[in-house]
């Protein structure tokens, strides 16, 4: 949304325009739900967090000063609520401790067996990846089965990886905004993004290989 449209939307919301509010809900409820799922266990709790977020949006609307985009502001409200909630759900640890799974430095982007072990060509592909057709992303998303598989791959990520990839790649936020919202250093954000993307790529490769019958 460009700044002008956003200002118009904000004004409409502040004036109590119901169409504007419904449009806002339609635009952000789904993304908020997806983001919440990276912080709290289960859809029911995530849905509650999103509801609380909307209450927070309404409460804050008159004071929102447009120092960030509306989207970033709404996402930040969600994350504040989700953190509070995640803290209460004791069995769930959405924020990795320094020695948690996200701190594992030995997580390779591609499994070691795909590369030559020794000799002059050590570290080079034994099994180079295949080139995917240009329309692969679209095709995968049109098929409900592969879409489900992709969602599962995202679900399976460590919470912080999932939070970062959701903001960066699914929602298209900048690295700076993502660091800001999640309170991460730039380097840490990049490491998390790298691991998350590598995992999802692996999952897509598995889907495509099994499709073509070359199960590896």
């Amino acid at each position: 949304m460009n700044p002008q449209d956003e200002r118009r939307l904000l004004e409409a919301l502040r004036n109590g325009d119901e169409t504007a509010f419904t449009a806002l809900v339609d635009r952000y409820h789904g993304p908020l739900l997806r983001l919440a799922l990276g912080f709290v266990p289960g859809r029911a709790v995530a849905e509650e967090v999103v509801q609380e977020t909307w209450v927070g949006v309404l409460e804050g609307l008159s004071r929102f000063e447009e120092r960030s985009s509306l989207k970033t502001w709404i996402f930040r409200i969600l994350i504040n609520r989700a953190k509070t909630r995640g803290g209460r759900e004791r069995r769930y640890v959405p924020f990795a401790s320094p020695d948690g799974p996200d701190a594992d430095a030995e997580e390779a982007a591609v499994e070691a067996a795909r590369f030559r072990r020794g000799g002059m060509m050590a570290g080079h592909w034994v099994l180079p990846p295949n080139r995917w057709d240009d329309n692969t992303p679209e095709r995968l998303l049109l098929n409900s089965e592969t879409r489900k598989f992709l969602e599962q791959a995202i679900d399976a990520l460590a919470p912080q990886q999932r939070q970062v990839i959701t903001l960066r790649d699914v929602e298209g936020l900048s690295a700076e905004e993502t660091c800001n919202i999640l309170d991460l250093s730039e380097t840490n954000q990049r490491v998390l993004l790298h691991r998350a993307r590598s995992r999802v790529r692996q999952a897509l490769e598995r889907i495509l290989n099994s499709e073509s019958g070359k199960d590896s």
């Binding site: 339609d26 509801q51 970033t72 592909w125 992303p137």
Partner: protein, 88 residues
């Protein structure tokens, strides 16, 4: 730069965080290695898939419920509620 090293630098490359020299090495490798070219293209396609993922769906009742909240917000907040400002 080996292929294995390259796969670990892909994100730094795409985020434009490699040093000038590493960027050069990366591009040189990509120019010569079709496997790594395919790999880089797969990562780019992965990002594209994620960007087109359809949003989580939600039942229409939620929309109605939220609209009701909006209406009562419009009518004026209850004075008993202590508002915590959300900074932006």
């Amino acid at each position: 730069m080996t292929c294995r090293e390259l796969t670990e630098l892909v994100t730094d490359y795409l985020e434009k965080k490699l040093s000038f020299l590493d960027r050069l090495r990366f591009q040189l490798h990509i120019g010569l290695c079709s496997g790594c070219r395919a790999y880089l293209s797969q990562v780019r396609q992965t990002v594209r898939v994620l960007g087109h993922l359809p949003p989580e769906s939600f039942p229409p009742e939620i929309r109605d419920e939220l609209l009701n909240r909006f209406r009562s917000w419009k009518a004026g907040p209850p004075s008993s509620v202590i508002q915590t400002p959300e900074s932006d």
